[in-house]
């Protein structure tokens, strides 16, 4: 039980941090907020060059074949630097194709992901925001010859405009309910009948509402088994959630560091404000939370990597990080005082993103319900 980084994990963390300090200073995410493309192609291609985009993809398809813990370390650093790239959504979809796709799908898509040529995303949530519940999936795909025809609306889709392909979760069996009758389709984002509008949000990163009007998708693009796609979705959701949690933790740690630095140099009543216990203890508690967020999330990532049961671990990680990171970035603001509310201070870049990320991929209550199922057993048993 060695919960600390080993040497190669430390080395990855160090090298990624060094690169991003140089390649993604706070000016970059700030500039990308108003850029219509929504990400930095230069940084994206740099990441491809360094092998980061294929870090956890299979070696036979251009990846490095490393595990999810390594991807987590990378994600934490991207969160720390607020790197404006469609990394989380691309990896979420790519790992799903790597795990559940056909050999043809893997060979077609994964090398392009590793090389930076393809950006992917995924579409699960509709108007019902519940994230772990198959009942929240209602969009229908109707069979028509060799195609499935999609009609409906997906919400909160990351970087849809930049993406080449999108994994779409839908109902392929009319009249089905629950986990039955769900499929995952790989959809070309340039398909006829697709349109997207921005969901303008506090993070000012790219989220879309995507409307499907009779979008035709070949049956060959089903990822996993037709009508039996819910297990594929569950695995995708677990990976996406744990990766977002660690990204959020990485960003939060940086916000805390900024608060600590500020409090050492800002004087009040003739002393640095960091010497006042009210603030010192607030920051000490915040450090404990951030440490906890990382520990509990790396455990979830490690279990996913090992193929061990991980539903509970993923959910406790997300429930904990959503609550603690949100409070931690607020603490960082409070230490700064009024200046933290201004647009010009960089701290708000972290505050706005972490606050937005904490609302995504399942509520605290929903994740805790899954933890409760694990520790107390299901209801009505």
């Amino acid at each position: 039980m060695d919960v600390l980084f080993n040497e190669s994990e430390e080395m990855l963390q160090r090298s990624v941090r060094e690169v991003l300090e140089h390649e993604s200073p706070p000016d970059l995410p700030r500039a990308i907020e108003t850029d219509p493309l929504g990400y930095s192609p230069d940084l994206w291609m740099k990441m491809a060059e360094l092998g980061w985009l294929g870090l956890a993809l299979p070696e036979e398809h251009g990846g490095q074949g490393l595990g999810l813990t390594y991807l987590g370390i990378l994600s934490a650093e991207l969160g720390r630097a607020l790197a404006p790239v469609p990394f989380h959504c691309t990896q979420t979809a790519a790992l799903t194709i790597a795990a559940a796709g056909t050999e043809a799908q893997r060979a077609e898509v994964l090398p392009k992901v590793a090389s930076g040529e393809a950006i992917l995303t995924w579409a699960l949530t509709e108007d019902d925001p519940r994230f772990l519940t198959p009942e929240a999936v209602n969009m229908a795909a109707v069979e028509d010859g060799d195609d499935l025809v999609l009609t409906g609306t997906k919400l909160f889709v990351e970087h849809f405009e930049a993406a080449d392909q999108c994994l779409v979760v839908c109902r392929t069996q009319g009249g089905s309910s629950g986990a039955e009758g769900i499929s995952v389709l790989l959809v070309d984002t340039k398909s006829a009948g697709l349109s997207a509008t921005d969901l303008v949000n506090i993070a000012k990163d790219k989220l879309s509402e995507v409307t499907f009007q009779g979008v035709r998708v070949p049956k060959a693009n089903v990822v996993g088994t037709l009508h039996q796609g819910w297990p594929v979705v569950e695995a995708m959701v677990n990976r996406a959630t744990a990766l977002l949690s660690i990204q959020m933790s990485g960003g939060t740690r940086r916000a805390l560091e900024l608060a600590v630095e500020y409090s050492k140099h800002r004087d009040a009543f003739g002393r640095p404000i960091g010497s006042f216990q009210a603030l010192a203890h607030t920051m000490a508690d915040t450090l404990i939370w951030v440490d906890g967020c990382e520990l509990v999330t790396y455990e979830a990532l490690w279990r996913l990597e090992q193929g061990l049961p991980a539903d509970m671990h993923v959910s406790q990680a997300k429930a904990f990080t959503s609550e603690k990171c949100l409070a931690a970035v607020r603490n960082a603001n409070v230490v700064h005082g009024g200046i933290a509310a201004t647009w010009e201070l960089n701290l708000n870049l972290w505050f706005r993103r972490v606050s937005a990320w904490a609302t995504r991929l399942g509520s605290v209550q929903e994740h805790r319900a899954r933890v409760a199922n694990a520790v107390l057993g299901p209801t009505g048993a």
Binding site: D2, V3, T69, S263, F276, Q277, L295, E299, A319, V371
Partner: protein, 396 residues
Amino acid sequence: MEFQFTPEEEALRTAVREFIAEHVTPEVLSEQADEGDEVGPHTQAMLGKMVERGWVRLGMPKEYGGQGGDLTHQFIVDEEFNRAGVFVGHNYGTGYTTIIKHGTQEQKDYFIPRMIRGEVQLGLGYTEPGGGTDLAGLKSTAVRDGDEYVINGQKMYGGNASTTHMYILVRTDPDVPKHQGLSVFLVPMDAPGVTFRPLKMMKDRSRPYGYTGAWAGESFFEDVRVPLSARLGEEGQGWELATSGLAIDRIGVTRYLRCTYRTDHVIDFLKSESFGDYAPREDPVVRDKVAELWTEREVYRLMTMRSLQMVKRDIPIVHESPAEKVWGPDHNVRAIEAIAQILGPYTQLTEGERAPRGGEFGDHLLMAWFVGIGHGSVHAMRDQIARRGLGLPKGR
């Protein structure tokens, strides 16, 4: 990173469980439930068998009288015995480790075998009526007079009715900076001038899965004359002894279990019990709260593993063990206060058939906060985290 025990560690756990099933008899358990810290004959016999297996003081460094074994192995052994309701850490805390490290041959020959047999019971005399957190500001004194020291002062909370010696920190030099003028003495309770007054605690009986006994004590020292050989370590070395002992005591299983039992036990209780037709486990609000407590507890488990691993890998502890010492006790308080609402009026019961788990929750409603006080309060720990972990300037 690796978040599981090795096959070797799992095999050890299995062996310990088998041993417990065989050797932790009702007689041993009944000795454990008795007041005081004496080691009863059945427990003594069982400890002998544990020594044969190398399970006692397993992970403690050899220089401190341990086996120099693996800390994770010790964690596993201690965890299993504690969960079985047997406390096997008697006498192996601060006093034991510092006597081994700093004692004269004569002191070691006298104390160590007697401590192992349970004939010597040390009471820790740090805190005084005037203060605890500001330990170096203590007022008790020892003044050299020829071949003797003359001790005067008062100590609080350490010791109980079965204590044979007080392990006290006192001032031997008033003219140097306050951390430098302190020394440790081992004072027999029967020395002329020592009086002991038992201090009844508000949780008025001992229990397994507990924090403290029902009794602590106050000891008074009035012109107590002790030989030079009663001093442990050098004159002026007291602060070093006190802090090294606290650091050794701070890592490991004991606090982890004290701070997680309530969450584990309420989950066990809720899984099987109902109140009439009402099963709290079905209530979504209760489920949400239990999941929150469970998650906090899991975070604490990982923090405990982190500190343990840092010691194993010889990585200096910066803020990690104080962090554990804030998170665990604070969780413990949140847990018992949440349990008090989940179990409602049943929580307050300490005896009888209506009391959940024999009244465990009622006892701990009284004493959960106490883990946040002993061994350095959570607020003193936050000061340490702020200064060492965050590099913040010293506050006031």
